[in-house]
Amino acid sequence: MLEALYRTARALPLGRAPASDPAGTGVVIKPAGAEARFALRIRDAGASAAGLPLDGPINSVRGDDRRWIARLGPDEWLIGCDESEADHLPAAIAADLGERAHAIVDVSHRNVGIDVSGPLAAVALNAGCPLDLGEAAFPAGSATRTLFGKAEIVLIRHPGAAPRYRVECWRSFSTYVHGLLAEASLGVGETARR
């Protein structure tokens, strides 16, 4: 009965809302669509697996919007890709890793993505994220697990000059994270500066 719907009709917790700039402040918030994600753990990673680079520095992201891999720790990566890749990617990675002990765990439904862009995106993120998101400290291609208000997130800054961020959080935190982002976008502009 649901076979036909499987893979195409995921009930995403934030729905499929279009991009919006609720405050008109230059902070564009858009819940991501249905994507596949995998948590990859391996100690002696080598250079790459299934075409995904594993030799990037900790707290960096490689790839593009449709297939990215963020290194979150010395032995931990978060991989995002189109759903169409989901069925074969784990096997392809496993094949490349061979005998090396590793774990690939499907977390597609655990994670929810929210894209944040616009000139004041970093300012809005800094309403809840305590990290220095300046050019020097968090340039394009950065990725890390951190906090946004009271929720844990993975924050990814997509490669490219324009400030484009992906916020990944766990499913049940997505309403909170999305709400706090919307609230933050209302608080970015005015300052008491003369």
Binding site: I58, N59, G73, P74, E76, P130, T144, R145, T146
Partner: protein, 107 residues
């Protein structure tokens, strides 16, 4: 809010971390061979120095790694942080400050 240098991620705010108490207390390889007194010492007895203290931190909302740090409990200054299994700088030199913990003494 402290600023803590995760050995993997660099300076991060304290809210991303969890403190795990005194460092360098290795779990005995054969707990069954310990006397009640020795086991109680391992489980419960910790030092609480006024000054430099070696402690465990976990970058729980970051890379997830546990590491060790030497912090001055008076000033809250971190003298150094180092990965699990690494030797602190102070022990590589001949420094004799008050960093010694019971565990280090046992080690």
């Amino acid at each position: 809010m402290l600023l803590i240098a995760c050995p993997y991620c660099g300076n991060r705010p304290e809210t991303e971390f969890r403190c795990g108490g005194q460092a360098h207390i290795a779990r005995p390889s054969d707990p069954g061979s310990l006397s009640d007194e020795q086991w109680a010492e391992h489980l419960f007895v910790r030092s609480n120095p006024r000054g430099v203290h070696a402690e465990r931190w976990n970058h729980v909302h970051g890379c997830g790694r546990w590491f060790n740090a030497r912090r001055d409990t008076v000033s809250d200054r971190f003298l150094e942080t180092y990965k699990m299994g690494e030797t602190p700088q102070s022990q590589k030199s001949t420094s004799t400050d008050s960093t010694s913990t019971q565990a280090e003494a046992r080690a």
